[in-house]
């Protein structure tokens, strides 16, 4: 922190949250470290893991209005711990951050919330499942049937989620390696949600249907020291198969992928099997961001061009990044979501 004069309370949350994304790559500082032999337990692991530094409940949805207009939706709850403990009241070191967004072909609405743990303003409870920050919720009697709602100054949404397939564990039974030197996280998904509900946009309410993909991930040292960010793809092919793949940009890049068959069976792919190459970079919010990619998974014959629905899907939040719906052409057709971090420098 070299800024001589610091607008302290406006800037500091950013610093803390940024640590979750990119900082402190090597130092777990008293926090628990993901172990390959951990067996995930449900519904307990749907809840929070306060002894890990960072965790998220990350839902993205590809939706369609009655008139066929495509939409994207994001609901994310981040947990970031200042220390590996929990408790009640203001002294809790658990901080929470919510991001919500709706993307249309011509507009991108974003809003953010920050909250302290320990006073009830934000938190996650495993069963019956409830994740909330302020008035934003993802909750239901169980993990398969949930209501998802968020609101910002210029948009809101309230949709229902119902799972049509099983939970999916990435990597080695949910132990997802993130670098050649062994940094890892616990990572599972529910990519089989059907969605129906209402988006409230400046022009009025829009009834939408579609599919959603929920990612759950927690760790204490998610990135290696040389890694500057990641490009993460969740793709749903017209065939019903799905592909999760990411590139952690570093020296050299590190990739991993999970092929998810339509029935939920998974195949994990090690470093190098999955490849993503930027085809087109665009000026987005003053940064050069790739908005079109060539994505390949040779083992499955996947060679697709992934194109952003709206190139301006910049998340102008405390920790800025790009997150938005995409479409695919090439060997496979379909839709999905793309997240790109580390382009804010």
């Amino acid at each position: 922190m070299n800024a001589k004069v610091l607008v302290l309370l406006a800037l500091l949350p950013v610093q803390a949250m940024a640590q979750g994304f990119a900082g402190l790559g090597n130092d777990a500082g008293g926090f628990a470290i993901p172990q390959p032999d951990t067996v995930l337990q449900f519904p307990a692991d749907h809840g929070a893991h306060p002894d890990y530094r960072i965790e998220w409940w990350y839902l993205t949805a590809n939706l369609t209005g009655a008139d066929g207009t495509p939409y994207g939706l994001q609901w994310t709850l981040f947990r970031s711990a200042l220390a590996a403990s929990d408790g009640q009241g203001w002294d809790t070191p658990q901080l929470w951050m919510g991001h919500a967004a709706v993307t249309t072909p011509t507009a991108h609405f974003v809003t953010e919330r920050l909250a302290r743990g320990g006073i009830g303003q934000a938190g996650v409870q495993a069963a019956p499942f409830s994740a909330w920050i302020d008035d934003w919720v993802m909750e239901g009697p169980d993990f398969n049937t949930m209501r998802l709602a968020a609101s910002g100054p210029d948009f809101a949404y309230d949709v229902g989620l119902s799972a049509t397939g099983p939970l999916v564990l990435h990597g080695q039974q949910g132990y997802s390696v993130k670098s050649a030197s062994g940094q890892a996280s616990h990572y599972y998904s529910q990519p089989f949600f059907d969605v129906a509900g209402t988006l409230t946009l400046p022009d009025g309410p829009v009834a939408v249907t579609g599919t959603a993909w929920l990612d759950r991930e927690w760790s204490s040292q998610p990135l290696a020291a040389d890694q500057t960010g990641w490009d993460w793809f969740s793709l749903s092919f017209d065939s019903g198969d799905k592909l999760m793949g990411f590139v952690l940009r570093g020296q050299p890049d590190y990739t991993a992928a999970t092929w998810i068959a339509a029935d939920g069976r998974t195949t994990a792919y090690p470093d190098g099997a999955f490849a993503a190459t930027p085809l087109l970079r665009e000026d987005v919010a003053g940064r050069k961001v790739p908005v079109q990619w060539q994505v390949r998974l040779a083992d499955r014959g996947v060679d697709v061009t992934v194109t952003a629905l709206n190139r301006a899907a910049w998340m102008a939040t405390s920790v800025p990044y790009w997150e938005g719906p995409v479409t695919m052409t090439g060997s496979h057709g379909g839709v999905g979501y793309l997240e790109m971090t580390g382009y804010d420098g």
Partner: protein
């Protein structure tokens, strides 16, 4: 060429150091008072702004508990979960320091945004022992907290900021919140406030912070005095510049004859003046700093006592005021010199270049018209003006109009004197005095303004003081005042007091909005104390009886004026209860409105407000015994205060309020005295040709000197005679117009003739002292110099 011309122009000042001194000192003194006042204002404003930024006052809507109490933390969470973007604040006194606890994650951007010097981080602020941000001097006053103190110079004075969790713990207020700051941008979907948290109310931002608005009038007051001082200074500068230009007319002609181009000359003279103004401005700003530093502690005490506003007692060198000081010095010089430069630019090369004393202040019908116009404007504003600004414009018009009237009035008076004069010397005296008026009129105007301000302000302060002391006697009738920490202590106090045969008058109060204005509602027990000692400004018949029967309320004057609630008007006391106004009482020194209902009504409407403060009536000789008995019951000595102590405290707050005005007053008078001295000294030299013939005709130098002394006294006396009505007009305007607008109360005007007489005597003395040296010099003028007059005249 430029250097040669400049050397000639500047040599004038070195050869006439008195003129240079007059110019620099007049300008510097005027600038000093102006920038001193501005420095004080700037410091206070910076403190208010820091407080507003620290606490989010003014710029954000706030949610508070309807009953004025604490908000449960659960209500905060409920509001957040209902979509309200609000941020909690808890505050309280930790020792003498105001501790403010905030939640950095939800606070709107800018709240508590404090530049700190170095290694602050969120983790340290939120967890572990925590951090407290405050000015270095505030940190020193904090009792030990265990938290890390971080120096942050932009935090409001006497305020410390920390995380809400730590603040709740330090203030012993776990789970309590005082107010919620409402973010300006709210989400689309929100449940209504009364559904989520009944008992909470939202207040809209006022645009500008409360303290700043409350104290605006006080600062406007200071500013007006600063301007007045500067105006007096400007009279001096105008005089000095005019004189210097007149004296340099021959030099300008010679320079042009020797080949210096006119434009070049004018430009160089402008540059020369600008440089002098800059020097004087810098001296003035430095002096202003001294003035401000000397007065600031009193101002800070006043603002704290009168408005509860924390202002730093430390003066910072803020560019706003020292730049404005320099600007006004330069601008004032430009105004004063503009005319002189203009007439020089139009002066024909071959025109007579003799210095003309009479042009120093041109007179004529224009002056009379301007004076009458300004006085008429002032009268019109007095009758029909609205608002504080109109009040000050009225004051300004009155003072300047009065000042401009001085030369014509003096001329009239002197003409009358001349008409009544017998004997040649007397006739010459009056005629010569008349001839001196133009040369002295600027200095005399300065004296007039200073005296009028002195009369006006001292009348206001003394009237206020008389009224205030009487008011204290009425209001502080109980011999002893006791506060209880809790209800059991209160019961013990009542028991002890009744054993000691004291009458117990509970002081019940709640803070409520009345007619949209902040106010206190008091419950009064029906007791002879009130009936005997209270005086109303206006009342209906049997007001106390009706009050006792719960048939109405009493109102303080502020609320009556601000809310326009006259006798008989219905006052909404509580939801579903409105009562008519029975009486209006003076309530000096209180910034907020006040409503008094009888005890029964109060207890019925506000059952939650316990009586924790009491006035105890007991024979004066038994106060000591009562104190001891209460102390034995565990009442802390600091919780008891007797009548005499309260009166002393109230009076000290009052005295401090006017220390500043008095100080400025005296300084202004001193500046005016200086103006007279300088005018007389400079005139003395120019008057030699006028005196030489009289001397030649047989008046001794001693006689001439004595007559000059007498002349100064006569002129000062005439000026003083005019200053008195002007000053009384000023006092009336201050009491009946400015006070009502600024503070909400009108004061009766008293006159203090002995004081005025003494002031007049002082003015005469000042004039005589100022004239003494020039007169002495005249009486010792070598005859050769007087003769030289004839030799030099062609």
């Amino acid at each position: 060429m430029t250097r040669t011309i400049l050397s000639a122009l500047l040599s004038h000042w070195w050869r006439n150091p008195l003129q240079l001194f007059t110019l620099l000192a007049g300008l510097a003194l005027g600038t000093a008072l102006w920038s001193g006042v501005q420095a004080i204002n700037a410091e206070a404003r910076a403190s208010y702004d820091a407080a507003a930024a620290t606490l989010g006052e003014g710029s954000y809507a706030q949610i508070t508990a309807q009953d004025g109490g604490a908000i449960a933390q659960a209500s905060y969470v409920a509001l957040r979960r209902a979509g309200w973007l609000v941020s909690p604040v808890v505050q309280g006194k930790l020792g003498a320091v105001r501790l403010v606890g905030i939640d950095p994650l939800t606070a709107p951007r800018g709240i508590g945004a404090v530049p700190v010097d170095g290694s602050a981080d969120l983790a340290a602020f939120l967890s572990g022992a925590g951090q407290i941000f405050a000015r270095a001097d505030t940190l020193e006053r904090l009792p030990p907290t265990g938290a890390q103190g971080v120096a942050a110079p932009d935090v409001a004075p006497n305020t410390a900021i920390t995380d809400i969790g730590l603040a709740q713990r330090l203030l012993n207020r776990a789970g309590q919140i005082d107010r919620l700051i409402v973010a300006p941008e709210q989400p689309l979907t929100r449940r209504p406030l009364d559904q989520v948290a009944p008992g909470l109310v939202q207040t809209v931002p006022q645009g500008g912070n409360d303290v700043a608005r409350l104290t605006d009038s006080f600062h406007l007051n200071l500013t007006a005095f600063g301007l007045l001082s500067f105006a007096v200074g400007l009279f001096i500068v105008h005089g000095a510049i005019s004189l210097a230009f007149e004296q340099r007319r021959p030099m300008v002609r010679t320079l042009r004859a020797l080949g210096a181009p006119l434009q070049h000359l004018i430009a160089l003279m402008a540059v020369e003046l600008a440089a002098l103004a800059l020097i004087a401005g810098l001296i003035g700003v430095a002096l202003g700093y001294v003035v401000a530093a000397a007065l600031l502690p009193d101002v800070a005490a006043t603002l704290r006592g009168l408005y509860g506003a924390d202002v730093s007692g430390q003066l910072a060198l803020r560019s706003a005021w020292w730049l404005s000081g320099l600007a006004i010095a330069m601008g004032g010089t430009a105004v004063a010199a503009g005319g002189a430069l203009w007439s020089l630019a139009r002066m024909p090369l071959l025109a007579s270049a003799q210095p003309r004393a009479w042009v120093m202040a041109r007179q004529g019908p224009g002056l009379v018209v301007a004076s009458l116009g300004l006085l008429a404007l002032s009268g019109g504003l007095a009758l029909w003006g609205q608002g504080l600004l109109a009040g000050f414009v009225m004051l300004g018009a009155l003072l300047i109009g009065g000042a401009l009237a001085l030369p014509p009035v003096l001329a009239l008076a002197l003409r009358a004197g001349q008409a009544g004069a017998r004997g040649p010397v007397a006739q010459w005296f009056w005629a010569d005095t008349r001839q001196q008026v133009p040369g002295l009129s600027l200095a005399l105007m300065a004296l007039l303004l200073a005296m009028a301000a002195n009369v006006g302000v001292s009348t206001m302060v003394s009237s206020f003081r008389l009224t205030f002391v009487g008011f204290l006697d009425q209001r502080l009738a109980s011999e002893l005042y006791v506060s209880a920490a809790d209800v059991p202590t209160a019961a013990a106090i009542i028991a002890v007091a009744e054993r000691q045969a004291a009458v117990v008058l509970p002081i019940l109060s709640v803070d409520r909005q009345v007619a949209g204005l902040p106010a206190e509602i008091y419950g009064a027990r029906d007791h002879a104390t009130y009936r005997d000692s209270w005086r109303f400004l206006r009342e209906v018949p049997q007001a106390w009886d009706k009050l006792a029967r719960g048939e109405g309320v009493l109102l303080n004057e502020q609320l009556y004026r601000r809310a326009g609630l006259d006798l008989g008007a219905m006052v909404p006391v509580a939801p579903g209860l409105a009562l008519p106004v029975l009486g209006i009482y003076g309530d000096y020194g209180n910034p907020v409105g006040q409503v008094i209902v009888t005890e029964d009504v109060f207890r019925a409407q506000f059952p939650e407000a316990a009586a924790l403060r009491f006035g105890l009536r007991v024979a004066p000789g038994q106060v000591g015994a009562l104190r001891e008995a209460l102390q034995q019951e565990g009442v802390a000595p600091t919780a008891m205060i007797d009548q005499a102590a309260i009166k002393a405290l109230s009076l000290s707050v009052f005295e401090r309020t006017f220390t500043v005005t008095t100080a400025l007053n005296i300084l202004t008078l001193a500046v005016a005295g200086f103006a007279i001295l300088m005018s007389l000294l400079t005139l003395a030299a120019m008057r030699l040709p006028q005196l030489a013939p009289v001397w030649a005709l047989g008046l001794t130098r001693r006689r001439l000197a004595a007559l000059d002394l007498l002349r100064a006294v006569v002129l000062a006396a005439l000026t003083a005679a005019l200053a008195l009505p002007l000053g009384l007009g000023l006092a009336w305007a201050l009491l009946a117009v400015v006070n009502v607008e600024a503070f909400g109360w009108r004061l009766p005007m008293y006159t203090f003739w002995l004081d005025y007489l003494r002031l007049g005597g002082l003015a005469l003395l000042a004039a005589a002292l100022a004239a003494l040296w020039p007169a002495w010099r005249l009486s010792h003028t070598p005859p050769a110099r007087l003769l030289g007059v004839f030799r030099h005249e062609r």
